[in-house]
């Protein structure tokens, strides 16, 4: 049994939150540079240039890339041979989240769903974090983190299709989602598509798909092909950067597929803005 101190988890979580707010990860930065090179519309190209400048300023001056510093979302895998000493894993993640958001001068964006009262004064600063936990073999804790903004989350959707809808039904559904969203989710986008499982499994898979590095290839060759097909379809929409019109609407489509019920074809589309602030650490 390996012992990991509660405080070590708090510190690690705090640090990745502060760092991610100002530093676009290499995969997302490269994808934006590629979009800038490939974009045919001069207007969208100009906006992409502004966004690359923004990434430079954010990183060099340690300013948040975007004022929407998101809700903190975690996918955590804890090894069966790990014992957290000094407190609970979930509490450590929440404490690290609060520290990161307060000490990094990041925005308190969590509130009551109806009164809209900000949680900073009640539950805690930008708490609770959204935590998906899994137990795996080994003696490590694996943490995937993303700051998820509201604008792109607001255009996401899920639906359970009958099996007859098939691949084309899924493609059409994703196209309709991105077309309706237009400029609102801050394109160019990463589009996470969760397929199969149950209703909630599809939704969580679509979220997790956004944590994958842009430019990485799906391990399943059929899904890799489908990702390319959907990406080409979406880039025909002409939405462009921030909806100004252009050829580069989508940076990547990521699919996570699961076995599902013989009666169902669940599909979820989770949308990520161009500021794809995600990171991965192992403790």
């Amino acid at each position: 049994m390996r012992e990991i101190a509660y405080e070590e988890i708090v510190k690690n979580v705090r640090d990745i939150i502060v760092y991610s707010a100002s530093n676009l990860p290499e995969d997302a930065l490269q994808a934006m540079k590629d979009a800038y090179e490939n974009e045919k519309s001069p207007v969208s190209k100009e906006v992409l240039k502004q966004l690359l400048e923004n990434a430079d300023i954010a990183s060099s001056e340690a300013r948040p890339l975007c004022q929407d510093t998101g809700l903190a979302v975690f996918f955590v895998k804890i090894g069966a041979d790990v014992k957290v000493v000094g407190g609970l894993l979930k509490d450590a993640i929440n404490e690290g989240t609060e520290k990161g958001y307060v000490e990094g001068y990041l925005r308190a964006s969590t509130c009551h769903p109806f009164t809209r009262a900000n949680n900073k004064d009640t539950v805690g600063y930008n708490l609770p974090a959204i935590i998906h936990l899994d137990i795996v073999e080994g003696d490590k804790i694996d943490i995937e983190y993303a700051a998820k903004g509201g604008g792109s989350e607001n255009v996401s959707r899920a639906r359970v299709f009958p099996p007859a809808a098939g691949k084309q039904g899924v493609i059409d559904y994703v196209r309709e989602c991105i077309s309706d969203a237009g400029p609102n989710p801050c394109p160019p986008l990463t589009v996470g598509v969760g397929i199969g499982g149950t209703f909630e499994k599809a939704v969580i898979s679509s979220k997790h798909a956004l944590f994958r590095d842009i430019g990485s290839v799906n391990e399943d060759p059929d899904m890799a092909e489908m990702e390319e097909t959907i990406k080409l379809e979406l880039n025909k929409l002409g939405i462009g950067t921030m909806g100004m019109g252009g050829t580069e609407t989508v940076l990547a489509v990521h699919i996570e597929a699961n076995p599902c019920h013989i009666a169902s074809l669940p599909v979820s589309v989770n949308v990520q803005c161009h500021s794809s602030r995600h990171t991965h650490i192992t403790i």
Binding site: V47, E53, N54, L65, N118, L237, G245
Partner: protein, 185 residues
């Protein structure tokens, strides 16, 4: 061909009517921030026949909830939020004399109709460029609803704040024009 303007607030009917979708504008002077919760309160004040916390005539409202400033800075990162959430409130404020709104994303027909009828424009700022846009804000002061935190109404002094005209007073929409050019059916 789009034109470039350098304008100082408050904005007049004349200048606002001259602007066309796609024009680039560098705004200077005073602008006010308000998001969802603040908009509801502003409209509630109008319904109650009370004064707004700032002069709406010729004013520009920026839909933004900034990050907290670091010590020594006037404001943190401050890019636009998605504007459709203010659609149910904006026409009322436009009728009272609001001349400009800064945000990102589509507006509904009620808003664009009000822009035509009362002469107002909707400007787009680059979403996700919060670090860059925050640097164009030289001072910030909370003037109402401090308890709303990032959603409080702030009076900002901006210099050459870069925006693009999305919806003008003539019924044009940059998002539709831009997309139509590159859409492959």
């Amino acid at each position: 061909m789009s034109k470039t303007y350098h304008l100082t607030t408050p904005l007049s009917d004349e200048i606002v009517s001259e602007l066309q979708s796609g024009d680039i504008v560098y705004l200077s002077g005073t602008i006010y921030t308000a998001r969802d919760a603040a908009h509801k309160r502003l409209v509630d004040l109008l319904d109650a026949g009370e004064d707004l916390p700032f002069d709406i005539k010729g004013a520009v409202i920026y839909f933004v909830g900034p990050t907290p400033p670091k010590p020594g800075d006037p404001i943190g990162s401050a890019g636009p939020t998605t504007s459709y959430r203010m659609d149910s409130y904006s026409p009322r404020l436009i009728a009272e004399g609001l001349k400009g709104m800064i945000g990102k994303g589509k507006r509904n027909k009620d808003v664009t109709d009000a822009c035509e009828e009362y002469k107002a424009v909707y400007f787009g700022a680059t979403g996700g460029a919060g670090a860059l846009l925050g640097k164009q804000i030289k001072s910030a002061e909370v003037i109402a609803y401090e308890e709303l935190g990032p959603e409080a109404v702030r009076k900002l002094e901006v210099v050459d704040f870069p925006v693009t005209v999305v919806n003008d007073t003539h019924g044009e929409d940059l998002y539709k024009i831009g997309r139509a050019k590159y859409e492959i059916k």
